[in-house]
């Protein structure tokens, strides 16, 4: 067991340090690591607390509190799957230290188990931050008093510890499939993209259904529970937390058995799996033909594009906001009649600012520039020795984000303006405000990428999903949007013109500050890496 814990410590430490600055002092590393954890904790607690209390308000009067735990359990399961499935390929099967650790006198099952356990601990964190607020809400809001007993908390803790086992087992299976496809399919990135697309479609389908279930909750809570029989383990967990020890044990068994089977089964073939997932033989049939030349900027932009579209992790995590943005615009245009009827019911809504806010929210999730410096990592020497100025390199990276985000912004903006029947002036303002946000967001992303680089990441998953630069590149722009909404509300007290002028001024100042900082300090920051 000593060896197992030593291996586990390495895996956990590597995961914890993934969100920290590689070059910083140990105190700075600890501070950024704790900061990132607090951010995740805050988001988990806030979202779970909010939704649990909303659900409990509806369900408590009809004594169907059990549904809160079903939905929160599903949320934790799906969230954990989203969070860890695509990390499995890198963390469990593709670690940089594979050769080193596989050469050591430890069984491959133990090595596999240590890495899977590290993933379990990550899922455990997620499970805790989702289920704990649900428990607290139950304790305060339930009318049956079930939440007040100590045994309720014991049962909840068992559920919190058991659920991530199921999550981890599913993540490892899906992750192994992704790793297998990327190794065996000649267009590995395409294969991964297809799996990722199917996966997201499934999650979306689930979310849409969940929405429908919640809408019908008050009227037919018992029926909703009945309709969830396909998710039996979640029902057992919820019934178990509410007092049925038998079902809780059945749920625990449902989590432990798959986990043990996955660890033991894949552990036995771990060495073969790692070898198979890595084996990609170079073909020897290339015939050189006349090559074409292009300029420096075009070559650098093409390189950024190859990395973005050829790295599924990067493409889906950083591009999802743009896909949502375009989908939002097109959907609004296609369903404009329904949309107008719905908006007609909410008379007096400021349509253009609301559209700008929603578009800004989607754009916030387009974090392409922020991880791009960290993604250079071990390849940074290539750019450094190239005869290209640092400033040009940074603006090309920033420009690549703009190259993707601006057309999507225009498409979505035009569609929304048409769907909402905005005047040409309002449509122009919508495009101007979101365009300004695009510029500021891209420059800000580049700056945080330079300020919090993660050049020694074990794989791109760590950079794209967990690095501090990505967290800041996404959540700070969202906070700016919140500030814009606040300024709009404050300005609206004086005049309609001021209501628009204040957020516009904030965005303009933010864009100007970021662009100036990037131009003046960026090259020196890049040199210092």
């Amino acid at each position: 067991m000593k060896k197992f814990f030593a291996l586990l410590k390495v895996s956990v430490k590597s995961m914890l340090l993934s969100s920290t600055n590689a070059r910083g002092s140990s105190r700075k590393k600890a501070a950024t690591g704790v900061g990132a954890m607090l951010l995740i904790a805050f988001l988990g607690l806030y979202l779970s607390g909010l939704y649990s209390s909303l659900l409990m308000q509806v369900l408590s009067p009809i004594h169907m509190e059990v549904l809160v735990f079903i939905f929160m359990g599903m949320g934790a399961l799906v969230g954990g799957l989203l969070f860890t499935t695509f990390a499995i390929k890198g963390v469990v099967f593709g670690g940089k230290d594979n050769d080193l650790l596989l050469s050591m006198p430890v069984s491959s099952t133990m090595l596999m188990a240590s890495r899977v356990t590290a993933i379990y601990l990550e899922n455990l964190l997620f499970s805790f931050f989702v289920l704990a607020p649900a428990g607290a809400v139950c304790a305060f809001m339930t009318q049956s008093g079930v939440g007040h007993s100590l045994l309720f908390w014991v049962r909840l803790i068992i559920a919190v510890f058991a659920l991530p086992l199921l999550d981890t087992a599913l993540s490892v299976l899906f992750g192994a499939l992704v790793a297998f496809l990327s190794a065996k399919v000649s267009k590995g990135a395409l294969g991964q993209n297809i799996v990722m697309a199917l996966y997201l479609v499934a999650v979306m389908w689930f979310c849409f259904n969940l929405n429908g279930m919640i809408e019908g909750l008050a009227a037919n809570a018992a029926g909703v529970k009945e309709s969830l029989s396909w998710a039996a383990p979640m029902l057992w967990m919820a019934d178990g937390v509410m007092g049925d020890w038998g079902k809780l044990l059945a749920f625990a068994a449902c989590c432990i058995v798959p986990f043990a089977l996955v660890v033991y089964g894949l552990g036995r073939v771990y060495r073969q799996a790692v070898t198979a997932f890595q084996a990609r033989a170079a073909r020897n049939d290339y015939k050189l033909s006349a090559q074409a030349a292009s300029g420096q900027k075009k070559a650098l932009l093409a390189k950024e594009a190859r990395r973005f579209f050829g790295t599924p992790m990067y493409f889906w995590n950083s591009g999802i906001g743009l896909m949502m943005l375009v989908a939002l615009g097109v959907a609004a245009l296609v369903m404009r009649d329904d949309l107008r009827i719905y908006l007609g019911l909410l008379e007096g809504l400021p349509l253009m600012p609301m559209a700008a806010l929603v578009m800004g929210f989607c754009l916030s999730m387009c974090v392409i520039a922020a991880p791009s410096i960290s993604l250079e990592g071990k390849y940074l020497w290539i750019l450094r020795e190239a005869p290209v100025g640092e400033s040009a390199l940074l603006w090309i990276k920033t420009g690549f984000q703009l190259l993707l985000s601006v057309p999507c912004t225009v498409i979505a903006g035009v569609c929304l303006a048409a769907a909402l029947e905005l005047s040409p002036l309002e449509g122009g303002l919508l495009l101007a405000l979101t365009g300004l946000f695009d510029l500021a967001h891209a420059a800000f992303g580049m700056l945080v990428g330079l300020a919090f680089p993660k050049l020694d990441a074990v794989n791109e998953t760590v950079v794209v999903k967990q690095s501090l630069a990505v967290c800041l590149g996404m959540f700070v722009p969202m906070a700016v949007l919140g500030l814009c909404a606040l300024l709009y509300w404050l300005g609206g007290m004086a005049s309609a013109a001021l209501a628009l002028a204040l957020p516009a001024a904030l965005l303009a100042v933010w864009a100007a500050v970021c662009a100036t900082l990037l131009a003046k300090r960026g090259p020196a920051m890049l040199r210092a890496l």
């Binding site: 990609r280 073909r283 090559q291 074409a292 050829g310 390849y379 450094r384 005869p387």
Partner: protein, 237 residues
């Protein structure tokens, strides 16, 4: 071709990696740079290539100051680190074209040179495969081809023989000599003293960041061997 004057590099924390190094590499010369691990070889090579920032001293490549005109200096230089990591998401041919584009190499010249060096290093057939599928040696060869197609005025190599098979090493030595015959210069570090002794016109020995001896190989070695000279200077003999 390369003038290093009073170059020093101090790392955060005060450790002086290189201290007041002065060294000149003339056109047509193959200059070997040897020293024990941590002596400051890589730090110096990286500073010359413009990959690493420095504060003390000047480095001039073919008339371009690395600090004041870094882009100009890089345009005439090719640098290969000891373990060149190349973009794994690119195919070999894409990487060579990427480098060729950065150095504005015309289409016909790059096609000719890629074919020539690719065939010599027996890599042409593999250029259509992703770099991620290459072995260590194949990556090393690709990095070397990407350096040679630039026709650099100064070629800086950090431990270039590591990972190369004997045949590729032999081919590389031939191209280094050819490069120097055309008026370029090669500045490289190595731990393979026999190769340095046979290949280099000039050799510099660095110890604890300070240049302890430099000069033409014959003069430096005299009747002894480079290994003996090196060990004597290092105080191991």
């Amino acid at each position: 071709m390369l003038r290093i004057e009073h170059y020093s590099k101090t790392y955060p924390g005060g450790k002086k990696a290189v201290d007041g190094l002065t060294l000149h590499v003339r056109p047509g010369e193959i200059y070997g740079f040897i020293g024990h691990n941590g002596a400051g070889k890589t730090t110096t090579l990286r500073a010359c290539a413009g990959v690493m920032d420095f504060t003390e001293g000047t480095i001039i490549i073919d008339g371009h100051d690395v600090k004041k005109d870094p882009v100009g200096a890089k345009r005439v230089t090719a640098f290969l680190p000891d373990n060149p990591d190349l973009y794994e998401f690119m195919k070999g041919i894409d990487y060579l074209n990427f480098i060729a584009d950065l150095y504005d190499i015309p289409a016909d010249q790059r096609t000719r040179d890629i074919g020539r060096f690719g065939d010599a290093f027996e890599l042409t057939g593999n250029l259509g495969s992703p770099i991620g599928s290459y072995s260590h040696g194949m990556r090393q060869k690709l990095a070397l081809i990407s350096a040679f197609i630039r026709r650099p005025r100064l070629l800086i190599l950090d431990e270039p023989f590591v990972g190369l098979d004997p045949s590729a090493s032999h081919i590389m030595k031939g191209y280094l000599a050819e490069l120097c015959q055309n008026g370029s210069a090669v500045f490289f570090s190595t731990h393979v003293l026999e190769v340095a002794e046979k290949l280099c016109h000039q050799i510099a020995i660095i110890k604890d960041g300070r240049l302890v001896k430099c000069g033409p190989t014959e003069q430096l070695v005299g009747d002894s061997s480079l290994e003996d000279v090196f060990l004597e200077l290092e105080g191991d003999k």
